[in-house]
């Protein structure tokens, strides 16, 4: 069972994430945490400053964080994008597809089950920010 999961090679960013309001008010923070209802687009002018963005999932069924992640990756954000909160093993594959590359689940996750889930689908139907080629691209080159 694992409590912190990371799909990045760089060092873990040590600075704690501050709230969105605090981040927008201060010029030196490099890590921010956004809550489910907050607008990820407010960060877009400031992405260069950021090394870590944490997106919270208050309950696993609240899917706003998936759009937040896509928006940040579509805008070119390259830093760590961490899903925190009610993150369950059966949602991690979709989160990876939306650009999350780190996970801080409230409850530990069975790494064996997660690895299996991540390798399960060889192909995907949609183009997302994970850059996997969708099936229609395979069909038409």
């Amino acid at each position: 069972m694992v409590e912190a999961i990371r799909f990045r090679d760089d060092d873990v960013h040590e600075e704690p994430a501050v709230s969105l309001d605090a981040f927008l008010d201060q010029s030196n923070a490099t890590a921010v945490r956004i809550e489910a209802g907050e607008d990820a687009r407010l960060l877009l002018p400031l992405l260069d400053r950021l090394a870590l963005i944490e997106v919270d999932f208050p309950v696993f069924g609240d899917g706003r964080g998936y759009s937040a992640a896509q928006i940040l990756r579509e805008a070119g954000y390259k830093g760590e994008l961490r899903a925190s909160g009610d993150v369950l093993v059966d949602q991690i594959a979709y989160m990876r597809r939306c650009g999350f590359d780190a996970f801080a689940p409230d409850a530990p996750i069975d790494a064996r089950v997660m690895d299996k889930a991540l390798e399960l689908y060889e192909e995907v139907y949609q183009s997302t920010t994970d850059s996997r080629a969708p099936i229609w691209k395979r069909r038409h080159g």
Binding site: D39, G61, S67, E74, V124, Y125, P134, I135
Partner: protein, 543 residues
């Protein structure tokens, strides 16, 4: 009909393996019911009053005889020998064991079928016109577009935890046979400057707060369909309400923001989405469209029809419509026999329909949102033989679009949300109005029954709607008038205080009697109601 390639097959096979593993973890206690629930829902497995219910997707309502026979097999092997065709062109089985579900999904995958996203807060099965590819009035076949949307929406990672369920319908004619504007997104294919594209309506739905979707864009080109749909969904996923499940559908967001503001936000997102390379090339639409090419029609088929058998004559008149190909007809098999359960079919009937489709309709069938089955391409010279075989099996009620061709939800007989029973009421109505001459005298009359305010029986869209409620512990039925799910979309209004079961049937007789008295020329019930107004009908019912 569309056929899976290796990719499509691999996706459904993988899904079966994934769900088998999830069921094993649930049965082993590794997953709590709370954690398992969203997973089983995305595989169409509900927990109802008495057992699990499995809903199988029939994409845009189209299926072949091999698939239909598999549906019969599932009914026989895993259920109580019948299935129930639904208002979203799917089929559901009411008595499923959890431990059988993975095997059922594997059986389905063997005939290119699945139960992916037939429930849950995700994009559901795409529905369409049951006459697609056969209708004389369509400008194109809507199904290739629906198939593009099916693939795009399957396992969509960003839109699988939406505020609420999400339903999309695609049609391609001015006559709306799919309740298009009562969907979260309704798409009508249209031509603009010689190019085929999609007109978008967003924010329709029934449920507790019925709304008719407003048009938000008059034309989306084929090669921008997906990015526009993504824009509609992203605005909803980000801003749809999550504080109250009864206000979580996109119709509430569109209503609260206003059509203009919602549209503005979608356009802004669309401008961004267009740059992301989300759309399959037009070659993909062309690839899919080839599967929907016309079957090998006999170009010498005759339009002559011997109508000397009076019962056959009635069935032809009521249950067949014009086909685009001379010498052919579209035939509807009514699943609304007297005293029957609307939409139910036994495994023997399912097998027979499959055989008849193979023999007489180029191996194709459709499920309609009115819970009937269509044979889309029947040679007129075969109609009599077809009708005789249907009649022998109790599948030839000549009541398409008449008062006994009712839609009814499962109601309190099955559903844990229901307040009242729907099925026994539909059965009693079919008995009271059994006389076919009387039904035909009343003409087109869409009767729709829901057993609670969630409106699965489409009561808001009935010319006559019935809503079952719980009144101090007893079942009570409210009567509604004036709804329509067709191109003249309208929402029905409640007449007044409710009735008991027999009382509401008496009230239906009262309003139909008034219609017969008041109608002018060839007015349908709904036309007379709209001209005369609610007051006269109220007066007749309540005095």
């Amino acid at each position: 009909m569309y056929q899976y390639d290796k990719y499509d097959q691999q996706m459904v096979d993988t899904r079966v393996a994934e769900f088998r593993d999830q069921v094993e973890r649930r049965l082993a206690g590794e997953l709590t019911e709370d954690q398992f629930k969203p997973l089983r829902l995305m595989n169409g497995l509900y927990l109802q009053l008495h057992a699990y219910m499995l809903r199988v997707a029939i994409p845009y309502g189209t299926l072949n005889s091999k698939q239909m026979r598999m549906l019969g097999h599932i009914a026989r092997k895993y259920d109580r020998d019948y299935g129930h065709f639904t208002t979203r062109q799917n089929i559901q089985y009411n008595w499923i064991k959890l431990e059988d579900a993975p095997d059922i999904l594997a059986d389905l995958a063997s005939v290119e079928m699945h139960a992916i996203q037939t429930s849950g807060n995700c994009i559901r099965n795409i529905s369409s016109d049951q006459y697609a590819g056969a209708a004389a009035d369509e400008i194109a076949d809507p199904r290739p577009w629906a198939e593009i949307l099916r693939q795009w929406s399957s396992f969509h990672p960003e839109f699988s935890y939406l505020p609420r369920k999400f339903k999309i319908a695609v049609i391609a004619s001015d006559e709306d046979r799919a309740a298009m504007r009562l969907h979260d997104i309704g798409i009508q294919l249209v031509h603009k400057d010689g190019e085929l594209g999609a007109k978008f309506y967003v924010g329709g739905g029934m449920g507790r707060t019925p709304m008719i979707a407003p048009e938000i864009r008059d034309f989306v080109p084929a090669d921008e369909l997906i990015s526009y749909a993504e824009a509609c969904l992203r605005v909803y996923n980000r801003y749809g309400r999550r504080d109250n499940k009864y206000k979580a559908r996109i119709k509430i967001l569109v209503h609260e923001l206003g059509k203009e503001e919602y549209t503005r936000q979608v356009e802004e997102e669309f401008a961004h989405m267009k740059t992301l390379g989300l759309n399959p090339p037009v070659e993909e639409l062309a690839r899919i469209a080839e599967y929907f090419a016309d079957p090998a029609f006999d170009i010498n088929a005759s339009d002559d029809l011997d109508l000397s058998d009076p019962d056959f004559n009635l069935w032809v008149d009521q249950n067949t419509v014009a086909h685009k190909q001379p010498g052919y007809a579209i035939a509807t098999i009514s699943l609304k026999p007297k005293s029957g359960i609307p939409g139910d079919a036994s495994s023997a009937q399912i097998d027979l329909m499959a055989d008849l489709a193979e023999q007489y309709s180029f191996d194709e069938m459709r499920v309609t949102h009115s819970q009937n089955i269509v044979l889309p391409h029947v040679k007129k010279s075969d109609l009599y033989a077809l009708w005789q075989k249907l009649d022998e099996a109790g599948l030839a009620p000549a009541n398409l679009d008449l008062i006994t061709d009712s839609i009814a939800c499962p109601g309190l007989d099955y559903c844990s949300l229901a307040n009242a029973r729907s099925i026994p009421l539909a059965q009693k109505i079919s008995e009271r109005f059994a006389d076919l001459g009387r039904q035909r005298e009343l003409g087109e009359l869409k009767l729709k029954i829901s057993g609670c305010i969630n409106a699965c029986g489409h009561h808001h869209a009935g010319h006559i709607g019935i809503l079952g409620v719980d009144r101090k512990g007893t079942e009570n039925y409210q009567l509604l008038l004036g709804g329509s799910a067709a191109e003249d979309t309208s929402l029905a209004k409640i007449t007044g205080p409710g009735f008991d079961e027999d009382g509401v049937i008496d009230a239906i007789e009262t309003v139909t009697d008034l219609y017969l008295k008041e109608r002018q020329e060839d007015e349908r019930f709904i036309d007379t109601y709209r001209r005369v107004g609610m007051a006269a009908f109220k007066e007749a019912i309540y005095g």
